[in-house]
């Protein structure tokens, strides 16, 4: 035992006193294979998000490499797991930047994690494209942070418009996740838009991530008889919320955002999700040929799994990045940053992507209805 302990201590010491490295500007393009870091939640609570992003971005990279790479250079994706925790997201991004020397980053899905990691990307001058963090604060971190999705003010407004105009709702209750920037942001924007349209917010109740019992909040909501209940959370909790809503005999439809989009949602909520509506980035059912072609290619690559919005956004993020590297003719940090910033009318799977001065994509959103384990396309709402 003592020997094991000594050995362990020795290994630790060797690891700790590892060779010094030369410091220098790592802004210059080192040439050769282009390394890109993709980080996300691969094993944690929202691992469906991370896996989808990983699959989508990997498929894009494989397609790029198969067609001869970017200006003849191959792309290598390095995937890292942050277990869905903000602190770990910061650590893995530091590792990707300093250890693996990646030239650009793709990630994260959850806004809280992107916000924790973004300052490190900004500091290291490594452009970071978030495929699907919708909270406005993410790109405000600095001029190296971009996204290829719409932002929450728009998403909240879409749902408020849909509730007030299409569902004719007058009273809305809100049940939100107090641990997530995403959820808190959506609440704020939904509230503003809904009251502007003449609606009334009857109550706001909070829950914490990993909660498994929502009956206390839902009973209080039931008493106020709202027409709709806005639940802008992540699918993990939403599934349970939907079930307990039905258990308490509440019939008001639940409304949500893109955080619901995961095939796992159906395992958790089942039939009790029927009749709910969400806002999302794209719909698998969209008949456009380029989308159907993408869905077919994705299914062929990943054993018939249909690409959810996060997979499509992961694909788009990688493609936008590749397009920028091509235009910048390399990965020198400032040139690459400028190339991404000037992305205009890029035809992505999730719509036409143009980045504005705030480095956000301006795109339309779709409203989907949840019906018998399917997200059924309902309507498109333009910005």
């Amino acid at each position: 035992m003592k020997r094991i302990l000594i050995a362990l201590t020795l290994i630790t010491a060797v690891f700790a006193s590892a060779t010094c490295t030369r410091r220098g500007g790592n802004c210059a393009d080192p040439g050769g294979t282009i390394k890109i870091g993709v980080y996300g939640d691969l094993t944690g609570q929202t691992s469906s998000f991370g896996q989808s992003t990983k699959n989508g971005s990997q498929m894009a990279a494989d397609e790029i490499n198969a067609s001869g790479g970017i200006n003849g250079r191959q792309v290598q994706l390095i995937h890292e797991d942050d277990q869905g925790e903000p602190g770990k997201a910061a650590t893995v991004v530091t590792k990707l930047i300093n250890q693996d020397q990646v030239r650009a980053l793709i990630g994260e899905v959850a806004s809280s994690n992107s916000l924790a990691a973004a300052p490190h990307a900004q500091e290291g001058k490594v452009p970071m494209i978030s495929p699907s963090s919708t909270n406005p604060k993410v790109t405000q971190v600095g001029d190296y942070i971009f996204r290829v999705c719409f932002i929450d003010p728009f998403q909240g407004e879409v749902m408020a418009k849909f509730a007030a105009n299409s569902l004719k709702a007058k009273k809305a209750a809100i049940l939100f996740d107090s641990n997530s920037d995403y959820s808190k942001g959506l609440v704020q924007f939904f509230k503003a838009a809904f009251t502007k349209l003449g609606g009334e917010i009857v109550t706001e109740k909070a829950y914490a991530q990993r909660d498994r019992d929502f009956t206390g909040q839902l009973t209080a909501i039931r008493d106020l008889k709202p027409d709709v209940i806005y639940v802008p959370g992540y699918y993990q909790e939403v599934g349970v919320i939907a079930k307990q809503t039905k258990q308490l005999g509440i019939t008001a439809p639940l409304l949500g955002g893109d955080g619901w989009d995961s095939p796992q949602l159906w395992d958790l909520g089942g039939d009790s999700l029927n009749g709910s509506f969400i806002s999302n980035h794209y719909s698998v059912d969209d008949p456009k040929p380029e989308i159907q072609d993408f869905v077919r290619r994705f299914k062929a690559k990943y054993n018939g799994t249909a690409p959810d919005a996060l997979a499509a956004l992961g694909y788009d993020a990688m493609m936008v990045l590749a397009d920028a590297i091509k235009r910048a003719n390399g990965t020198e940090c400032a040139a690459l940053r400028n190339a991404i910033a000037t992305t205009k009318d890029y035809k992505g799977i999730t719509g036409i992507i143009s980045l504005n001065e705030e480095r956000n994509a301006v795109k339309s959103a779709v409203v989907l209805e949840l019906k018998n384990k399917q997200f059924v396309y309902k309507e498109t709402i333009a910005p």
Binding site: Q45, Y207, A208, T219, A220
Partner: protein, 303 residues
């Protein structure tokens, strides 16, 4: 009024689950003076065992299937409890408190990380073994089948436990061991076997709690035992650790208190996200006024 009754039902419901888990904490503490921090994870193991049994057999909603899954998961968890006792706790039983506590934390980390490595950290939907329907009581108040199930099964299990402890030979031995381990040994009781049995019993109850929760809120994940386990432990201390009716009382009390905070807290300026603080606030108050818990007996210190 109907809302209050509804909140009471909601509270008693989670309270019953806390109580089932708290029983395991209290029994083990009563015998070994060990805070078994891995007990919350046994609750998780039970839920996972139930999940795989139901999935492998392709069970749909049926009372027989539910009973089978319940008993199956209790057996699996009991085996886990015994293995843990034999290989992790027995070797450190004679060491200082801190050492045994760290071992318990180690076991807890082991179970959590093992299950994350094997099954991933994401939640899984637990197959529904009953057709959950809601029965209206009066006004708005209603009770669902899964809630009735939780009450019925947990009461039944507690009655069985009481019977085992007070009416059977092994129960008498358990009481003897918890009274004084060494004297019990001198009386010819196989204390190692009794301790193992206690772990099995406590683990089985936690597993039942796991399967029942999964019928009510159908998500299970490898880290589900952390918060629930901690609250159940608080419940055990609250009722008087080592005291079986105390554990039940503590569990119900905490369940009701936190539901009431969620339901009515906003009227007096307490947000619903304070729910987890309630259990600890009550705990500290009780500890300061009555350090041995509500039903616990004060042990006179030897000089």
């Amino acid at each position: 009024m109907d809302t209050f009754v509804q909140q009471l039902i909601n509270g008693l419901n989670i309270g019953a689950i806390y109580a089932l888990i708290a029983l395991g904490y209290t029994m083990v503490y009563g015998i070994l003076r060990l805070i078994n921090f891995a007990h919350g994870d046994i609750y998780m193991v039970g839920a996972f065992a139930g999940y795989f049994i139901a999935l492998k057999l392709g069970l749909g909603p049926s009372w027989g299937g539910l009973l089978f899954v319940l008993i199956g998961s209790m057996v699996v968890a009991a085996i886990f409890g015994m293995v843990i006792e034999r290989f992790a706790y027995r070797p450190v039983r004679k060491y200082a408190r801190m050492t045994t506590l760290i071992t318990a934390i180690g076991v807890s980390l082991l179970l959590e990380n093992l299950f994350v490595a094997l099954f991933g950290g994401q939640g899984r939907g637990f197959p529904q073994l009953i057709n959950d329907t809601t029965f209206p009581l009066f006004g708005n108040a209603a009770i669902s089948k899964s809630q009735i199930l939780i009450f019925a099964v947990s009461i039944a299990l507690m009655v069985i436990l009481q019977w085992i402890i007070f009416k059977t030979k092994v129960g008498t031995a358990m009481r003897a061991v918890s009274f004084n381990l060494n004297s019990a040994k001198l009386m010819g009781i196989n204390t190692d076997a009794i301790i193992m049995f206690t772990f099995a019993l406590g683990s089985a109850l936690a597993a039942a709690g796991g399967v029942l929760t999964a019928q009510y809120s159908p998500t299970i994940d490898p880290l589900m035992g952390i918060t629930t386990g901690l609250k159940a432990f608080v419940a055990a201390v609250l009722g008087g650790i080592g005291n079986i009716p105390g554990a039940v009382l503590g569990g119900l009390l905490i369940g009701v208190a936190e539901t009431m905070v969620v339901g009515y807290g906003s009227n007096i300026g307490i947000q619903s996200t304070y729910r987890d603080a309630v259990a600890f606030a009550i705990l500290i108050l009780v500890l300061l006024i009555r350090p041995s818990g509500i039903l616990g007996t004060t042990v006179q210190e030897k000089v």
